[in-house]
Amino acid sequence: MTTMAVPEASSATRTPARPAAKRRPTRLILHLAVVALMVIWAIPTIGLLVSSFRPEAALSTSGWWHAFAPPYQFTMANYRNVLNQAGIGQAFVNSLFIAIPATVIPLFVAAFAAYAFSWMEFPGRDVLFVVVVGLLVVPLQTTLIPILKLFADWNITGTFLAVWLAHTGYGLPFAVYLLRNFMGSLPKSVFESAFMDGATHVTAFFRLAVPMSVPAFAALAIFQFLFVWNDLLVALIYIGLSNSDNLPMTATMANLVNSLGGGWYFLGAAAFVSMLLPLVVFFGLQRYFVRGIVGGAVKG
């Protein structure tokens, strides 16, 4: 389905991605700039990574870079404490059960809406779209109490269903916005010729719009997964108040810090444990960000 041929991009002469200008000084500056940005961005995280292997006493008296000078004080104690925390395994499974459906559902719901917003004409389309995107600004906190009351009436507080629905609702404005923008900027000629050939909207959606929007879907999946994976507030309110067995890992981590009385030095270890999966997802989806996928071609 990703190999849908699109007339525009079918020209046979694809040149490699390297720019023509290959003068040495320019390349050097380019590499220096990229490496500098990488270093600046990595330092805070490296600091935390090193700190997560240091004993509590060392953390409060010296900076993390002192770990590389004698006496070398490294310990696995922080990680042991995090991984031995009661219920951490169940919490990890809960996080997965929450995050995967809460990523898949809004993606599908948003895709149909985004297609309608970009390729169908109807009165009030622009106004409705502005309202949908405007909803991005609604602070999550103002919605919690009214929704919680309704969830309690329906007896679904404490269930995964409650957070799946909630994350879908909260994630939709951005999902529709991003997908509509991407689908809307696809070449009009492709769609027009498809409709000319008698294609229905259903065909155009599944055979053109979806395959051509793969990078946007991948980006969206990553973000939605991350937001749900790192969410604490929604889980605490809709699950935690009535059924703590279903709480995700973020809640277990927060408890760990609280119950050990300012155990903030565990947080480094906890952060790395909970970061692993999102990074795997990012690496896994990164191959969809290659040049040319919009044209249905593979990177040359």
């Binding site: 020209s11 694809r14 040149t15 590499h31 700039a33 990229v34 961005w41 995280t45 008296t61 010296s62 900076g63 870079w65 059960f97 459906p101 898949v104 809004p106 719901v109 149909f112 809406a113 309608a116 917003f117 169908m120 004409e121 109807f122 949908v132 995107v133 909803l135 991005l136 600004v137 609604v138 602070p139 906190q141 103002t142 009214p146 995964f160 629905l165 609702g169 909260y170 939709l172 991407f182 809307g184 900027s185 070449p187 909207h201 973000f223 790192n230 604490l232 981590m253 810090v257 947080l267 480094g268 952060a271 970061m275 990074l279 990012f282 690496f283 960000f289 040319g292 996928i293 919009v294």
Partner: protein
């Protein structure tokens, strides 16, 4: 556990199946209708699932918030007080101070995330280690807010002059002989607000980069090559071809970043809790809600936040109209 797994699998496979079946079914049901009616009804049927979710989770609570903002403090017997809550907001020094901070957030956070995101996306597009570079820039977004707070406590840590500095930044400054700076305790020039903005820029540049990069990959190579063949240098190709093609995407990213800056809450809450002149509107709302217990004022603050977005949305729709006529 077993049953949970079954439910999760059912949902992951079932929801898309149900949605596809729904679209298929509506097409079937529309078949006997006239073409005119089909054209009219179809968009609404496609949007309906999204509207149902939005209506329930966002529009309904928003309407309740607007009504609540016109009522007084008492939760049990709310009385209508007209615009009193808004009058409080626009005459209160703390509230106006947090409004000013949000303006700083809007300018600097949006400017730096979009600017750096664009820069990184364009630069790494030309090197072989693109995947590694992008992963490093993206990494902070995968860190939860609480963990990010801890990371930057290490970075910004301040010890009095003379003492051994444990914060990375102050230790670095020490090596070039500059005295330690209380990054998070300096109301002057709103330095602490800028320090908080830096944390969020560090976290969100990866977000801008991923979206801009996805759009960058969508620009047909033929177009860039054609410009180069015509003798344009790399800068001209960027200015005249790449940038205009990225226009709609940059608008989306900027809008998302502006909204993120208006809603900024977590990082302020974890690092300074609004002290040292760093308070922002969303934190003010939480304070009014849970510390003061005045849901009327808290709702009014939320409505101010909502209204601030109107000009941005107006700009967006003009952008979309222009794009419509171009494609």
């Amino acid at each position: 556990m077993e049953s949970q797994l079954v439910t999760a699998v059912e949902v992951v496979l079932g929801v898309p199946a149900v949605l596809i079946a729904y679209i298929w079914l509506t097409e079937r049901l529309l078949t006997p209708a006239s073409e005119r009616w089909r054209r009219r009804a179809r968009p609404w049927l496609w949007i309906a699932p999204a509207l149902a979710f939005l209506g329930f989770f966002l529009i309904y609570p928003t309407i309740r918030t607007v009504i609540r903002s016109l009522q007084g403090k008492s939760e049990l017997t709310p009385k209508f007080v007209g615009l009193d809550n808004y009058k409080w907001f626009f005459t209160n020094d703390d509230a106006l101070g947090s409004l000013l901070n949000n303006v700083l957030w809007l300018l600097f956070f949006t400017g730096f995330t979009v600017g750096l995101g664009l820069l990184v996306a364009v630069l790494v597009d030309r090197v072989r280690y693109e995947a590694v570079a992008k992963s490093i820039i993206f990494l902070p977004l995968a860190i939860s807010m609480v963990a990010a707070g801890v990371i930057w406590k290490y970075m910004y840590d301040y010890k009095p002059p003379g003492a051994r500095q444990t914060g990375t930044l102050n230790a670095l400054l020490g090596t070039v002989g500059v005295g330690p700076i209380g990054w998070l305790q300096s109301p002057g020039f709103r330095l602490s607000t800028l320090a908080l903005i830096a944390v969020m820029v560090w976290m969100w540049t990866g977000f801008a980069m991923v979206i801009i990069s996805a759009a960058l990959k969508g620009i047909p190579l033929e177009l860039l090559e054609a410009a180069r063949v015509d003798g344009a240098n790399e800068w001209q190709v960027f200015r005249k071809v790449t940038l205009p093609m990225l226009g709609p995407t940059l608008a989306v990213v900027s809008t998302t970043m502006i909204i993120t800056s208006l809603k900024t809450f977590d990082i302020v809450y974890t690092l300074t809790n609004g002290n040292y002149d760093t308070d922002v509107i969303a934190n003010l709302m939480i304070k009014e809600m849970f510390t003061v217990g005045d849901f009327g004022r808290a709702s009014a603050v939320a409505v101010v936040l909502l209204l601030a977005i109107v000009p941005i949305m107006a700009f967006n729709i003009r952008k979309f109209r222009a794009q419509e006529s171009l494609r």
